[in-house]
Subunit: 540 residues, 2 copies
Amino acid sequence: MNLHIALAQTPFLVGNISANLQTILDYARDARDRLQADLIVFPELTITGYPAEDLLLRADFIQQANNAIYELAQHLPDIAMVVGYPEQTDNKLYNSAVVLHHGAIIANYRKQALPNYGVFDEQRYFSAGEQPCVFELNGVTLGLSICEDVWQAGIVAQNKAAGAEILLVLNASPFHAGKIYQREQIVCTQARQARLPIVYVNQVGGQDELVFDGASFVTNQNGDIVLRAKEFEPHVSVVEFVDGQPQPAELAPMYAEISSDYQALVLGIKDYVTKNGFQGAILGLSGGIDSALVLALAVDALGADKVEAVLMPSIYTQQMSVEDAIAEANLLGVNYRIISIEPAVNAFSSLLADVFAGRQKDATEENIQARCRGVLLMAISNKQGKILLTTGNKSEMSVGYATLYGDMAGGFAPIKDVSKLWVYKLARYRNSLSAVIPERVLTRPPSAELAPDQIDQDSLPPYEQLDPILERYIERDQTAEQIIAAGFLPAHVERAIRLVDRNEYKRRQAPTGIKMTPRSFGRDRRYPITSGYQGMNLSK
Amino acid sequence: MNLHIALAQTPFLVGNISANLQTILDYARDARDRLQADLIVFPELTITGYPAEDLLLRADFIQQANNAIYELAQHLPDIAMVVGYPEQTDNKLYNSAVVLHHGAIIANYRKQALPNYGVFDEQRYFSAGEQPCVFELNGVTLGLSICEDVWQAGIVAQNKAAGAEILLVLNASPFHAGKIYQREQIVCTQARQARLPIVYVNQVGGQDELVFDGASFVTNQNGDIVLRAKEFEPHVSVVEFVDGQPQPAELAPMYAEISSDYQALVLGIKDYVTKNGFQGAILGLSGGIDSALVLALAVDALGADKVEAVLMPSIYTQQMSVEDAIAEANLLGVNYRIISIEPAVNAFSSLLADVFAGRQKDATEENIQARCRGVLLMAISNKQGKILLTTGNKSEMSVGYATLYGDMAGGFAPIKDVSKLWVYKLARYRNSLSAVIPERVLTRPPSAELAPDQIDQDSLPPYEQLDPILERYIERDQTAEQIIAAGFLPAHVERAIRLVDRNEYKRRQAPTGIKMTPRSFGRDRRYPITSGYQGMNLSK
């Protein structure tokens, strides 16, 4: 028997059930009319968007979602639809997938594996299903699974045992670097082991700190990919199954990691800015590498006409910084303005003369400069309705090398989960597409320019040491002893870990930003601020 | 048989295992020597503190905690100790209670009910135990439960069925208004239904957004309280059981709610400031009710000599505001300084003249004033090593009536979960102890004083309407329709809900503060920033 299955790699708006319902109908009509699909499969929790977080605790929201499913069943009787929704029954809520056909619900599956780690809180909301669900269409038996189900042992085999000839998987699987490859490996291995073709449909789009990359695919029972959809774009693909075997279909090449990373950042910015209704974006352009990269990302996400740069030099700003910042704006065709912060800094210095009298200069004076920039940028943002993008990277966020309400001020922090060395890699990648960042920015030593002749390495270990130490401590939970044993200098390890431990308070007030690593700051890493834990206790 | 059981209502420092170990030993020695106790019961997860959050994902931390239990077993062989710890076995982690006696582990219980709602994420870390655990001491059979266990049906009865004559419950039960009464009601009902005396031991102290109130107690098998310990203080009590029945012991009266609320705020401030090593606290004193209350709380928590007030008038500040602020500082014996913000505001106005040219005045100009205050306060905080306390209340946090990086700037936000009307009640309560807030502050209409003759009710519904609307929408998940049906004006309901929905981005960058209601902002309420949900959709 033949079966045409459409993979609806759709964007959804969390919380907006009526808009999501319309998206489902539009995609289903297109799949039926243009692609002659018999069946269309949507991502996990299609109707609410993912993750809807504590909206799922509201009875009215759940009621709306369930009503929408009943309404949907009345439409498009001649194409079967697999749609994800939060299923309310008695006092329990399930993360479910429903199959609608000929105006009726012909199957309903409840997710069995509920992830409650990392960014996921599904056990906060949902009860776990306990059995597989298969249904028949055109004489073919299909099974249903949802996301985490296929990362666990047993559930794919359970579907095979229940008679499934094809397994449909609805997903909201967020991106991090390397995830696309990892996901294919795991799912293809499951398919091969169970001898069961798998149709894997993933959501696409940015939602607060998460980016969903799409990259839906189909694997045959040998674990070979026969269809690979575009990454980072809404898309509908179709695959034909003949006698239960998927036929070769559109096949994008496996994606290059640096290119995927860059696109994830672009999509994360684009969706945060547009879904939240901003007129555009502004940012402070310092002449350093971080703001250069964020400017390029913002332009690629929103268009040059929607982006504005603000240069805010001080007496510590080198002339080459101003030159490079202007060159960046010009290369990208972005309007910029220059506002000196000196008058504001001087006003505060006078007002605080009594407070500071007889005390040494310290970070306070540097923070005032950063905060004057914050006030200026926020005023422009407020007046113009454009979001302020912060430009801090993960290395800085980790060790607190940033000023609260200063350079940390803003609505969205695109590269907060990107280490400094990775920032350089992404900048070079972007320059390989077209030259937008002057070479000098890529080669001069990084500096916050808050004190005379300051460079980052006055205060921090060199990034070649710092970044891998941070990755081991934050993302892999290694101890100081383990990191030192791996060959890093004890003094660098000690300094890095102490700074990470004591700067949780800053991170807690940082704007949200895009998850790019297996463990980002945000929902992903939940540390106490008040803590006696000493990641670094060599001195004891 | 006779048995003396000590209830160790102890403070713990999250993450500091060696300090917690020492606290356990100190309390156990005291209970043995001074109180002749046979057994001492500590709170939940004694050894790590609660909640240790993602520290529990670190193998080194778990190893340290388990080592500490083995070390503890070697001490004080002549008093039995019940201690909470994260028990590592193979690949699973349990929230466990161990009984140590004569140098050995004589019993070990694994928590069965793992809360994963509200502020709790226990299923992120722990596997659930599956059976009761009873042990014998002096011929008496005792059962063990941990916190959530006794809020569920079945687990108390399970202990009775397993032969327990007394149930020991280890807790880390955080405070909110009314919780002490609610907790006693639930536990006493469980005792009465199972005909089983219960010894309930709770942690005490502030930990980030949580305050643990202590208020440990003992109920007999009729559900009558026979021992009630102090609230909000470290304390050790003892109860004697004769033939399985608890004898009358120290019995604090049931606490008055407004007094408990005030003490919770004081303890929350005290522990946040001292555990994080600050030299003291500063705050902006406006002459309004919110900063007046926070000043009193800070002085009661830290002492007048550790607190400093900063008055920052502008051209919109009324003379009576300055007078009242000075009166507040004087009544509490707090040093204050006055810094006009005009020079800084004028500097920014000049710098931004081009940006603002041809545009109407709006919230931007108000935000600049608030942010100049933020810069000044943070500079004083940075220079002196004193934490900046913010003074915003829950009504403001809910509707976004506050300036990011302005009045929202600070390290801790004590009253962010206290509604405006509740602020007045607490202020009157504090004045009933001794007059510290001028009467005029309690009676004049509240104003942000950011524009000429501004009062809050120009922008917001009256607080008598606003506060109950917010409580229904935020804490009880009611819909607009339900709130209107309860008698509130549709226009007020609509405005309040719209503002709540659109201000999640501000709350996400707010400092942490004390949970005072059943649902606070923070770990307790996890809403998406990007959201199409319309709590208010009457217009559709």
